[in-house]
Amino acid sequence: MNEHVETPPVAIEDLPLLRASGLTRFYGDRIGCRDISLSLWPGEVLAIVGESGSGKTTLLNCLASRLVPTAGCVEYRMRDGTVRDLFRMSEAERRVLMRTDWGFVHQNPIDGLRMSVSAGANVGERLMAVGARHYGKIRGEAEHWLERVEIATDRIDDDPRAFSGGMRQRLQIARNLVTNPRLVFMDEPTGGLDVSVQARLLDLIRQLVADLGLAVVLVTHDLAVARLLSHRMMVMKGGVIIEQGLTDRILDDPREPYTQLLVSSILQV
């Protein structure tokens, strides 16, 4: 019945940025995630949803090469167009990739920031790591990115300890974006924030992702966050993907029993 099916329209970039196949991670005899395959294209936001223990964070960490999978591989299309198997790259290459072409936004900003140095130094660190040695230029870039994430530039010399939770999270985002990454991993980026703060942050992320054309792998247990930010969604349970598709398709027409349970549990305001 699919004789008319064609490849996607020519207008979109046709090569995936990130491709995982057969990704499996065991913790002893417990399953973290099992046999997961996925592709992510430039500019695409993929939400991985599921409850605690569903394996979504394990999957995220395997994709981001922060965790070595028991089996399977993750390939990434580098800026020069070559496709590399992450776990066959040297650690040095991988770390360069992680601080240039990638970003990682932690749920708890303390995990992603240097709390003892100023906001400006937090944003400038990646630039210095890739060789920037002009103080004035580094500071100029830091100011620019603080503005982008709606932090007043006169806070540039303040420590993140003096920042509210929402500001810290925005600072963490700025710190990640300063090298113009193409792919950002986000682990519950709005978790633990007040609802009003969350809304502002979500909107900021939404705008940045659209303006910068970022590809994002977003882990969240909050379907409202996934609805607002993601184009595509994967539902995980027990370490495997039980349903995936367009975000509004999953939310409007959930098929699996567990997905239906999740969707029916969204609070209506």
Binding site: M1, N2, H4, V5, E6, T7, P8, P9, V10, A11, I12, W41, E44, A199, R200, L202, D203, R206, A210, L228, H231, R232, Q244, G245, L246, D248, R249, D252, D253, R255, E256, P257, Q260, L261, S264
Partner: protein, 236 residues
């Protein structure tokens, strides 16, 4: 005029796992096509599955049976029923537009930017997109004072006009209209009727649901009675 959208034997039911796995039939055997420059209206009593058909075409609902072929400007044919999420997403950006009854409000984004967004997503400059958005909002008589405000606090009618402007701003070749005039006054209804007429002239294929009989009679080239499609067999 060439066919833009061809549905063949499309069917859908819901399985409600939280209610003991009961299957709720929605519709089946849906077959029709829409040509470029044509506005086809789905008719029939409410609850018959008109919205479900729109949602299947737009990809919000999965399609259980049949195929929905969309003819892109490039000449490519895409079966929405079996296409992957990314294909549908690209299709929505370029080819397939949707005006729903209700605006899904995004916090903090101004009405003007809500309207401009789909055009900007197609690559138009920010200024150009906002200029076109302003034109449309003016045409739809949305007070200019509201343009820079997020629509969350707008009245139903105001929100709907924002939504209409957002749906009509692009030159999508196919437009799905889910009761776009439902809560509009006569003046703004007339504006929407004009907009639809302009789209027709531009060769856009439209499929709509209009409960308002007056509007339906003006815009519809053809009415398809959804009641003629059978429900799922197990409900019979």
């Amino acid at each position: 005029m060439p066919s833009r959208l061809i549905l063949t034997d499309v069917g859908k039911s819901f399985v409600m796992h939280l209610r003991g796995g009961v299957t709720i039939p929605v519709i089946s055997g849906v077959s029709f096509s829409i040509d470029a420059g044509e506005c086809v209206v789905l008719g029939g009593p409410s609850g018959i599955g008109k919205s479900s058909i729109l949602k299947m075409i737009y990809g919000n609902y999965g399609v259980e049976a049949g195929q929905i072929i969309c003819a892109c400007e490039s000449g490519k044919l895409i079966d929405i029923a079996s296409a992957d999420a990314r294909t549908i997403h690209a299709l929505r950006r370029r080819t397939l537009g949707y005006v729903s009854q209700f605006l899904r409000v995004v916090p903090r984004v101004s009405a003007l930017d809500v309207v401009a967004e789909p055009l900007a997503a197609q690559g138009a400059s920010h200024e150009e997109a906002r200029r076109r958005a302003a034109e449309l909002l003016a045409r739809l008589n949305l007070p200019e004072a509201l343009w820079d405000l997020p629509p969350a606090t707008f009245s139903g009618g105001e929100q709907q006009r924002v939504n209409i402007a957002r749906g009509f701003i692009t030159d999508h070749a196919i437009l799905l209209l889910d009761e776009p005039t439902a809560s509009l006054d006569a003046q703004n209804r007339a504006v929407v009727i004009d907009l639809i007429a302009e789209k027709k002239k531009a060769g856009v294929a439209m499929l709509g649901i209009f409960h308002d009989k007056d509007v339906r009679e003006v815009v519809a080239d053809r009415v398809i009675d959804v009641a003629t499609f059978s429900r799922r067999s197990n409900a019979a």
